[in-house]
């Protein structure tokens, strides 16, 4: 019995080692190939900064000890060794993500510095002895520059707000043509930075981003440029509008003004977020492409009715004088009209929040 367990354990350890080695053995592409950790593996400041990042971004999947994903067990000494041998692979994986394995890319959420901090921390999880690293090589693109962020104090969901960031270099001169990243610190399942967008600085060094807030709350807005980072807060009120819009296909030009027939209440969600009332809406107006489908359906049901009309005429022919002879075709025609109307209504009506016809 014991030997069996031992065998199983040995095998699984081997398997882990092989699979993590296989993953690490993949060569990273050019921007990442051969990059080195700018920090020392045992730099206490870096480790504590990395720990914060790790807890915020990585811990929910990888676990507090790093053993959450068995194929990438950070708490194993072998992983740390691999990491030390090939830090560029891990940096690559962290930056670009491993989408197919469920790992999102972090290059837009975490600055290069933060990514190295967290890698340094991950290295420490395995408890491997450290070798002193090279001195930091990365230089920020703007030496001693300044980044100021200006955010309106309040907004509401659905209404666009503008974030502006001003970038100046060490001499106080505005920097032109640089990309500034804007992020929001949001609570959405986990607390983390969500990218709002990117903007390029103009002649005055000002980058402006128009953003439509979708969730009420008081998120922190963060602007990034290289190592520079500033934060500000915005209060977003709930306007109560439904502005969840996803569409299939391309947006076709609407040939006419929208037609809307229905109660006011159809704009609002029901109690407890239930679907609102049904209403009729033709976004493309009277020339909506939806009519094509409606016409086909009407054609089908009219054909049914024409067919049943033939049956009705069979029953009313002279000499067919049985009692109730035309009962069946009459009822069937009525049922067919009812069904046809229902089907057409199903196509052209729906709750407002569910309309996403382009």
């Amino acid at each position: 019995m014991n030997s069996k367990w031992l065998l199983a354990a040995t095998l699984s350890i081997l398997l882990f080692a092989v699979s993590s080695a296989a993953v690490l053995a993949q060569e990273p592409p050019p921007p990442y190939a051969g990059v080195k950790n700018p920090f020392a593996w045992n730099d206490a400041g870096v480790l504590s900064a990395g720990k914060t990042v790790y807890e915020q971004f990585c811990g929910s999947c990888h676990g507090a000890t790093g053993a959450g994903v068995s194929a990438f067990d950070f708490s194993s000494a072998s992983y740390s060794k691999q990491l030390e041998a090939k830090p560029d692979s891990v940096f690559w994986a962290l930056s670009e993500g491993r989408i197919t394995k469920g790992m999102p890319p972090y290059k837009s959420t975490l600055s290069e510095e933060k990514r190295w901090q967290v890698i340094t921390y991950i290295h420490s999880l395995g408890g491997a002895p450290s070798t002193p690293g090279p001195t930091p090589a990365a230089t920020p693109p703007v030496e001693n520059g300044s980044l100021t962020l200006s955010v309106p104090p309040a907004g509401q969901t659905g209404d666009p707000v503008t974030f502006t960031a001003t970038l100046k270099d060490g001499q106080g001169k505005p920097r032109t043509g640089e990309k500034v990243k804007f992020l929001l610190l949001e609570d959405f399942f986990a607390r983390g930075l969500v990218e709002a967008g990117e903007a390029t600085t103009d002649g005055q060094g000002v980058a402006a981003l128009e953003y439509i807030p979708r969730r009420p709350g008081e998120p922190e807005v963060v602007a990034w440029f290289g190592k520079l980072e500033t934060r500000s807060r915005i209060a977003i009120a709930d306007s109560g509008d439904v502005f969840y819009h996803t569409e299939a296909g391309i947006r076709m030009p609407a040939p006419g003004p929208e037609i809307w027939i229905g109660p006011e209440s159809a704009f609002d969600l029901g109690p407890q977020g239930n679907a609102p009332n049904t209403a009729l809406r033709l976004p493309g107006g009277m020339l909506s492409w939806l009519w094509l489908f409606v016409l086909v359906l009407i054609a089908v049901y009219v054909t049914y009715i024409v067919t049943l009309y033939q049956v009705l005429r069979i029953s009313t022919v002279k000499g067919a004088g049985a009692t109730n002879a035309s009962l069946v075709p009459r009822m069937a025609i009525l049922a067919m009209i009812g069904l046809g109307v229902m089907v057409v209504l199903m196509v052209i009506t729906g709750p407002y929040s569910h309309f996403h016809l382009g």
Partner: protein
Amino acid sequence: MRSRAIESFQDRLERVSLAPLIHTQKTYYLFVFLLLATVAWGLYAYAIQLRYGLVTTGLGDQVMYGVYIVNFVFFIGISYAGALVSAILRLTNAGWRSPITRISEIIAVGGLTDGALQPIIDLGHPERAWHIIAYGRFQSPLLWDIIAITTYLVGSLLYLYLPLIPDLALARDRLGQSASGFKRKIFTVFAVGWQDTPDQRKRLNRAIGIMAIMIIPLAVSVHTVVAFIFSMTLRPGWNSTIYGVYFVIGAVFSGTAVLLIVIAIFRKVYHFEEYIKEKHFRNLGYMLLALLLLYLYLTFTEYLTGGYKMEEGEEQLLTLVMLGKNAPWFWFFVIAGMIVPAFLLIFSKLKTIPMVLIAAVLVVLGMWVKRYIIIVPTLEVPLMPFEFGSYSPTWVEISIGLATLAGFSVMVTLAAKFMPLVSVWELKEEAEKETHHKEEAEGQR
């Protein structure tokens, strides 16, 4: 002499085709009782599912389609027998169709009713099926499905009913007191005063002509839309452009096989040997073979296009299907559902009826399994690394699945008691045409 021979053919036709409506054997009751008992057991299982929810099934967050949706696709597919076999043969005026059109239309209605119930059974809250009518939005393939299936079901009922009118009138006139009062009433009301006048005939033929054309695009649209439920997603295996065609061909294929089985049973039980001849099995067998090759080709195309590009999910799917835990199902489909029937059909001249029938049974089983292969393994492919789904049906699902099959059989079996199973008036027309030809030929001589 000759005219007396026709008389006796027609008399015998009426006697044989109307006999099931008035004479019922003990074994029939036993058979119906067994089927109803199975349905009752299924209803009990469904009550359990309603009481405790879908947790009594093998369905979960990852694999949310199981036996129910497999049966949905399967039974909707079977309904094709009616639509395409009967409508295409009618439009092309294939004389040999007359004895089998009625049965195929009954299968169509039975299969559709049964299939359309499945998605409702699949709901934990069946009363919320109403929501798709009240709150459905046009972008949802499920809404398309409801519309297409409803429309097609209505069309199939109409298409079953129209050619039935003269035969119901025949039952009304010939059976008299030997049928129960309830049945007499049904025959009278549904025969809508048919007296076989030229005007009535003209109108009926016009109505049937319209419906025969109408039912084909409807049938095609229904199974295309059923395929859309899957192919409108980005799932590996489902993310395919051939799915519409693939499902349509698969449906005609399995529908023809079911039709073969059902006509063989009715032929044996109700002594239709004079009307449903070896020719029918041979012709339908050739149709089945052609459809089999087409389906095999589409299956090959499906796996080739996926496997050649080999996206990550696709690779997992193919491994799961061809080598993994679904491999027995897949290889059963390939060998028992495709290759063996193909050989049986190719060499069916040796012993037509048994060989075609065995092939048909294998095809039906294989096609059920193929639907399982289409639906379940795809859902077992994880979208996220921690979402491994796995599925095996529970007793509740198996019971309801068997009850579904029993329900279909009950519908087809009971139909035999309310309508002549062969189209008597069309057979008479054919017979008249034949003698007319013979007379002409002899006159010329």
